[in-house]
Amino acid sequence: MFVVVLVHLLVAALLVVARRQLERWAFVVGALGPLATLIFVVANWGLHHGEAVTEKWDWVPAQDLEVSFRVDGYALIFLLVVGGAGLAIFLYAQRYFTPARGPTMFAATMTLFAGGMVGLVASDHLLSLFVFWELTTISSYLLIGYDDRTAQARSAALHAALVTGAGGLAMLGGFVLLAEASGSYLISEIAANPAENSFAVGLAWVLILIGAVTKSAQFPFHAWLPGAMAAPTPASAFLHSATMVKAGIFLVGRMGTAAVATVDWWQPAVVGIGLVTMVVGGWRALRQYDLKLLLAFGTVSQLGFMFLLIGSGIPELVFSGLAALLAHALFKATLFMVVGAIDHEAGTRDLRRLSGLNRSMPVLFAVAIAVSLSMAAIPLTFGFDAKEAAFHGLVHEGVLWVAAVAGASVLTVAYTARFVFGAFGPHVKGQEPAQGRRLRLSNLLLAAPATLAVISVVVGFFPALAFPVVDAAAEAVTGVAEAGELLLWPGLGPPLAWSLASLTVGSLLAWRSDLVARAGDAVGVVAARLPSGEGTFRRFVPGLINFADRSSGLIQNGSLPTYVAIILLVAIVMPTVAVLSNGATLVAPPSGTLLEWVLGLLIVAFAVSLAFVRRRFAVVILLGGVGYAIAGLYAVFGAPDLTLTQLLIETLAVALFALVLRHLPATFARTATARTPRLVVALLVGAFVFAGGLVANAARTPSRVAETFLAQSIPEAGGSNVVNVILVDFRGFDTLGEITVLVAATLGAAGLIRPVIRNRRRS
């Protein structure tokens, strides 16, 4: 598994390094990544009954941080999608881009993304899952914003990155909470022993759900996905329909069983979100004229469908959801590639202007029809097999469940019809028909979607081909084997009745599309008054930036004293809050000996005058006075070494100050800094130190280290002055560091001054 991820990273790096040389073959080289994934999938084809391939690499063993891969049947089905769809789309992209547009970086980013996706689905450690998750977010950002000259692409990229990034952060918080409660960061262990429900665990599940909802573009965070259609079509097909948006679904499936066992709101929440997303996405798809946007909203709707099935944690639904996942990857990636080909050849994606492509591009038409049937879940297609399995499971859960999903499926049928007739039917009267180059469809641009379509059709007729993969995947997360069936003909019964009902109503909707349009306008009037996802985001971001400008303008006003004051105030407030909330015992200190009082009052007098005196030689003398008096205090407290050092240092320091100040004016200039705030902050700092000293004084215990030092000084180091022994022996390393600092400070000071003085002397 490491090898597969590594291949992706290396190929991406290679594409970046040799971007000139590889320009012609960028995507063919990039396809090595998905190819490696596919080889891995084929080599482990037979995984089932809970078997898994595990690999582990200790990253930071002390922190229990590791990259741990565990590929079971569930991961394998996602790897199949990533590798299969990836390979097809890379080959398609090779033809889609003309080398003149410099697609090498695009190919590199796509490869990087594919690697992130592979790592994501294979991760067993929550934190490595998060890292790969964010890798996909970043590469998605780069791919959406690939055309960085258009403002729309940039803002769509930012929108997607902010929404999924914020969701990812929430998810990370959830991961940490969950792992701390469960005692393990390994998904396999968390799934085996879910943590008991508590406030923290409940919150963790909420946060994880937010991560999944944003990533998979579920309501109410679905708005970024249609925006992401600003990306070139290969990226849309790969990231925003086949793989990345399924990461959220992957997550709810991975953790769903554990979540359902822990919190009772999970199942209704996931099902509710999925259902609303299905309806909103399907409805919006019916109102689009841009073929790509139509598919995007269709994807939102389909994602809702899979989200509710796979996240529900009910074995039979998970099974059908995984089948739907395979079917969706096949038909949606294909349809995106078809739209890309149409756009490429006809020069437009507006379904009002397109017409008669069935004659000019017959093969493309056939491909589109084949997979569209699967999308609409017409019998004898893979989509139908999957949906039938879903209805079978939903019927067991209750009539309300199946009715809701069937109702939402009506929209799927209707927008599929809109897509097919829009693209290939007659153009709308009054609209200028598209004037494309047409008929110059290259074989490669056709080969990839055609291959996927053929697979889709074959699997539709022989669903037993897909059964082992789906069954192994479902068993890996639910523990139940053969939870559902994939049948070409399910036999008469309630599931078939629901299927036919939604097909019929959907066809009716498609037939009377003018009615839909009128109803849509009516709904639109109401909906325009409701806050929409896009609108909220558009207002939110400038507001946030404006807030940031204002607050940084206020806090960061460029004045050094203000910054220092803010830092000091924070340094005062934080420990004060901590001490006050924990409580502290105070012991009244002794007032002090006479000698201490004499020296102390001297220091106080010197220090206070220092703060206000402006004549610089007075300053030098006062500074020396403070230092000498402090040396006296050290002597009182039994520190002759300190006294000696302090006296000598003070002598040197006074001389140094005198040397420097002789260059400066005789008095310090008055500066514009306000006095009162300075005084207030200064007094606060003083009071804080006084109170802090009282607290610390009461809390101090004699250090054990000191006892050891006193006992070991003569036998170990052969010295009886313990302070010196500590400096040169016990803590010698510290001293070595200290003298290094002294050397650096001296060299720095000399280097700052000497050239300046020499220059002045010369001039």
Binding site: P640, D641, L644, T645, L648, I649, T651, L652, A655, L656, L659, V660, R662, H663, E716, A717, G718, G719, S720, N721, V723, N724, V725, L727, V728, D729, G732, F733, T735, L736, I739, T740, L742, V743, A745, T746, L747, A749, A750, I753, R754, I757, R758, R760, R761
Partner: protein
């Protein structure tokens, strides 16, 4: 700021004082392991002596008395301290771990040589180098002429 550079009384006084100061500095360095003192205070005493020499005769007399560049002192001190640390590897000890040997030369009695002494000498050299370096850098005159007063 006018200052007498070559006041004969000051010069004479400095000569009288700086000798004992340097001896005191050496005493502090070598006694420091057992009495108050050590490389830091010893080095600082020597630094004060350098300062006095500067006050009496300016930069030039500092250069005359101590013909070593301050950077050499700094480098030598740091290297000596670090080498003492590495030397502990030779007998298989950890970095900077110290040892001592007792010598019994005639007349003097027992002398104990501690490896940490060499480390302290390194500290001493760095501190002296710092004092000399700072005095030289900051004590340099802006004007190239000889000291103005007392010529």
């Amino acid at each position: 700021m006018r200052r007498s550079r070559s006041s004969p009384i000051l010069s004479a006084g400095v000569v009288v004082v700086s000798g004992p100061l340097l001896m005191f500095s050496a005493y502090l360095l070598f006694a420091g392991h057992n009495q108050p003192g050590g490389g830091f205070s010893g080095g600082l005493v020597a630094g004060v002596a350098v300062l006095l020499v500067w006050a009496a005769g300016g930069i030039d007399s500092v250069r005359r008395i101590l013909p070593v560049r301050s950077n050499v002192l700094l480098g030598a001190g740091l290297s000596l301290a670090a080498l003492t640390g590495f030397a502990a590897f030779l007998p298989g000890l950890a970095f900077l771990e110290s040892g001592y040997i007792k010598l019994h030369p005639p007349l003097v009695g027992e002398i104990k040589i501690v490896s940490a002494l060499f480390f302290d000498i390194g500290v001493y050299l760095v501190v002296v180098g710092m004092a000399v370096g700072l005095v030289k850098a900051l004590g340099e005159e802006e004007s190239a002429e000889a000291p103005e007063v007392g010529a």
